[in-house]
Amino acid sequence: MLKTLARWLAVAALVLLIAFALFSREGAGWRWLTKGGWHSTARISSLSPQEQEWARIAWRYFENNTQPQTGLVNGSDKQPRVTLWQMGDTLIALLAARELDLVKEAEFDARLTRLLGTLNRLTLTDTRTPGRLYSSRTATPIDFSGKPVKSGWSAKDMARLMLALRLTAERAPQYREYLDKIILRWNFCPVMDNEGELRSASLQDGQTVVRDELRLGESEYAATAFHLWGFPVGKALIPPSRNVIIYQRSLAVDARDTRTTWQPSLLSTLPAMLPGLEFGWQPPGVPSDVQKTLRERAEGVWLSQKTRWERDKVLTARADFYLAQAPWHVEDTVWGNGYAWNTLGDDGRYYPRLAQVTTKAVFVLWTLWETEYTDALMAVTTHLNNPEQGWFEGRVEATGDINPTLTLSTNAMVLEALLYKHNAGPLFENGLADDNSYFSRRTTDQFNPPGLCLPGERAVRTAP
């Protein structure tokens, strides 16, 4: 009798203990269990007050830089220029702000509504493709000095916005129809060829020059974004690769020769890690061997940076970043154009003194890998902000100085990374455009085709 009681008591104590373990600290244990913490390297616990504050600071940038007429956000602080990539960043930041309770539902609707209208009215160029750079005040194509100009298009930037639109459609499905209409205006005929290679165009001496600008990393990322909208995957998903060796680790880089194509071949944090944040490296509809390759390559990029810290004692988190003076935009890489840890300006020159621990790379790595190294990275980055302005670009490797430039992309990446943590996993559930949508109705309408080389039209053409 006593024995039975003792047993029951023991069981009750055990159950209580388990319940306590699961549901104390606001259910952190439960969350760990349900979100698959045992097989994830990422940080997936709910946001601490400090992290909530980080998100608020990042959102501050968007509050300061939203243009009321268009709803677009300046690409850099007080600079009324914005690219399609940055428009995509804006949408993701807005979604994150809603999930992280930085904006109320009403404000979310107001902001998104203004953006939807602007994107649906965006002035297209002669080829009926979106331009490279827009004025955030007027939503018309401009050049870097702000003069109206006919520019080419960037497949990379288009892809980012297309991906952000899919994420918006998934997380705010009530707006799906209007999101679909944005893409239905664009002409994809010159952008994607029949073999699935993505092309970009730029203006050189008044002439439009079309070329494939995407290289390994960016290329697969763009291809998966196009695929979310139903475009076939092709050459862009499987760029030619060769291996280079950094710290006895083999890393795949694009095999096309930068000396003859004049297109830099770069290996950096963001193109490798964004598929991790967004799809857990399992973008939908992509063959599983490609998914596996994406993950392995991302791990190589992460481990190389970690090894540089362990071996050479240099804190390393590489990504492209902006500067307040020439060369304005810098590709800070793990490997670039033949050299490990190369730092290239947009003029193609080598600027080793500009290399930095880049804020957005820190946040992405910190989120995806919970280790001592990412803690060390965060320790030098956590104060790189002005609570009234947002997060700075990063800390200079050579001197420890701050690069106090403020950009949309950095602040959006902070929010995207924190959204991953809050969400305890990849941002997309699925992401593929489904058949039951305005988009698929329009693209499969054989009697009134949009004539823009959209996915349905491609299928018709390839299946005679």
């Binding site: 291996n243 280079v244 060796i245 006895q248 083999s250 000396r259 033949g338 050299y339 080598y350």
Partner: protein, 515 residues
């Protein structure tokens, strides 16, 4: 805690098993090149013809006034490197029976006299260039003047002075006098790093010279004369590039910051293989397949294998080296790897000139003799008749099919002759003079000066120390020479470099090259 450590045990065991299986897999994938034997034996008539054709260059470009030979056809200028190639050519011609001892002697006497009388750069070491008619030191325009010295050129000259001294002891005194006239105080530092010199606004600047491959080859020349070359003889710092499944080592000093290209080519390894048989420079053993310098042999195998694989995979015959051109830019580094890119072909300024890539004849014949393989048979078939009567062999055959590079050089033809002599005799450095370890050792003029404490030029010219052996001591006692010995504490001179530290070989192949 205990439970935890128990849990780790199977994990550790598993990791151990993985590691062991990986190690086994790695050992299984060696390089085919390591299995290829060097070629040896008497020359066939076909090979003899190649030797005769190559020697033509030295007949038509001989300058009777100085005994020097033009480095490039009809252009009366040369360097120490090219003159060493000429000495190699002369040796091969004599040993292969193309010229007799009389012709050899007439040429050598003149050459050594000129070398002894050379006007040195700032009275230190031979200038980078000399006029072959007047024997004057000249600048890059072949006008009288001085421009600096190259530690690598001098290294190669030291190799061949030593080879001649050992093969033909009758020239020992003349040769020792040449080297005794040189001042090494700026060329080698206590850690054994090699320095070259150039002039900046009339002032000499001494900078570290040599990258992986050439650096160790140059250092071997210095080591033969007794210098300690610890730092320059080690392969570090290097990184690996994956080139057609082979991990090819390259010097990791950054060419963007040092203005020296880190090119990987056949020539440096081929020369090391032929002249030292991939042995330590001072190894007196001549047995052909006993490599006392294992990493050099291994690195050479990699550089060879990458080129053979390129042919197997892309069908492009490949034997790469730096070479001259018959058109602008006149000189290129035509490499297996350089400045960040596989198969880079660049000018000395670093400009990419892929259309000047070529099969270098010296590289092809050097690879042919050191690696007996079907691929090198094909290389020989390709190059054997790429010569002009009375001029020697062409510098190369353009990879893009544009035909021969119609330029002729002493270095190209000299190294080709060297390769043929290697086939006949094996490693070219044959020790003959007394070994200081022998009991009845008799020192050469160079040794005598080094060992004499009262020789005034030893310290000012930074001459090395002769290893003190019982025989050396006995000799000093018998002749009343006060022995000059190495300072007891070597580490006080250079604490950072340990010459005996073993070199661990990096992985050889990528996974793609499974047998």
């Amino acid at each position: 805690m205990k439970l935890k450590s128990l849990l780790y045990f199977p994990l550790l065991a598993g990791l151990m098993a993985i590691w062991l299986s990986l190690a086994a897999a790695e050992a299984a994938t060696g390089l085919p090149a390591s299995e290829y034997e060097p070629r040896s034996g008497e020359l066939t008539p076909r090979e003899k013809t190649i030797a005769k054709n190559a020697w033509q260059y030295f007949v038509s470009n001989f300058q009777p006034t100085t005994g020097l030979v033009n480095a490039v056809n009809k252009y009366p200028s040369t360097t120490m490197w090219d003159s060493a190639s000429y000495m190699a050519a002369m040796t091969a011609a004599r040993e292969l029976g193309i010229i007799d001892k009389a012709e050899f002697d007439r040429r050598m006497l003149k050459l050594l006299a000129t070398l002894n009388k050379l006007d040195l750069f700032r009275n230190e070491l031979p200038n980078k260039a000399y006029n072959t008619i007047s024997g004057q030191k000249v600048n890059y325009q072949n006008k009288p003047g001085e421009i600096g010295f190259s530690a690598l050129d001098i290294g190669r000259m030291l190799v061949w002075l030593k080879v001649i001294k050992e093969r033909y002891p009758e020239y020992s005194n003349s040769i020792d006098n040449v080297v005794l006239g040189w001042d090494f105080s700026h060329a080698v530092d206590p850690c054994g790093t090699l320095y070259g010199a150039y002039l900046e606004n009339g002032q000499p600047k001494y900078v570290q010279e040599g990258r992986l491959g050439y650096e160790e080859y140059g250092a071997a020349g210095f080591a033969l004369w007794g210098f300690s070359t610890c730092q320059s003889s080690r392969p570090q710092p290097y990184e690996l590039a994956e080139i057609y499944c082979v991990m090819v080592p390259y010097d990791s000093r950054d060419p963007r910051q040092t203005s020296q290209h880190n090119y990987v080519v056949s020539e440096s390894y081929v020369l090391y293989g032929m002249e030292f048989g991939f042995d330590n420079p001072t190894d007196r053993n001549n047995s052909p397949r006993d490599y006392s310098h294992p990493w050099m042999k291994n690195f050479a195998d990699r550089v060879y294998q990458a080129q053979e694989n390129r042919y197997a995979i892309t069908g492009i015959l490949t034997a790469r080296s730096e070479h001259q051109l018959d058109k602008s830019p006149y000189f290129v580094y035509d490499t297996v790897f350089s400045d960040g890119f596989n198969w880079n072909t660049i000018t000395d300024k670093g400009q990419f000139v892929p259309n000047t890539a070529a099969v270098s004849l010296k590289a092809a014949l050097g690879m042919w003799v050191l690696w007996d393989s079907p691929y090198t048979d094909r290389l020989l078939d390709t190059i054997e008749n790429a010569n002009e009567e009375g001029k020697g062999y062409y510098e190369g055959l353009y990879e893009n099919g544009d035909g021969p590079i119609k330029e002729f050089t002493a270095n190209n033809n000299g190294i080709m002759l060297e390769a043929l002599l290697f086939k006949k005799e094996g490693k070219l450095l044959r020790f003959n003079t007394d070994n200081p370890k022998n009991r009845d050792f008799a020192p050469s003029l160079w040794d005598k000066k080094l060992v004499d404490l009262f020789e005034p030029n030893n310290t000012p010219r930074n001459r090395p120390f002769l290893n003190s052996t019982p025989a050396v001591k006995t000799w000093c006692e018998q002749t009343g020479t006060t022995q000059r010995t190495r300072p007891a504490c070597q580490a006080c001179q250079c604490a950072t470099c340990n010459a005996d530290e073993p070199v661990k070989l990096p992985p050889v192949t990528a996974q793609c090259l499974k047998p």
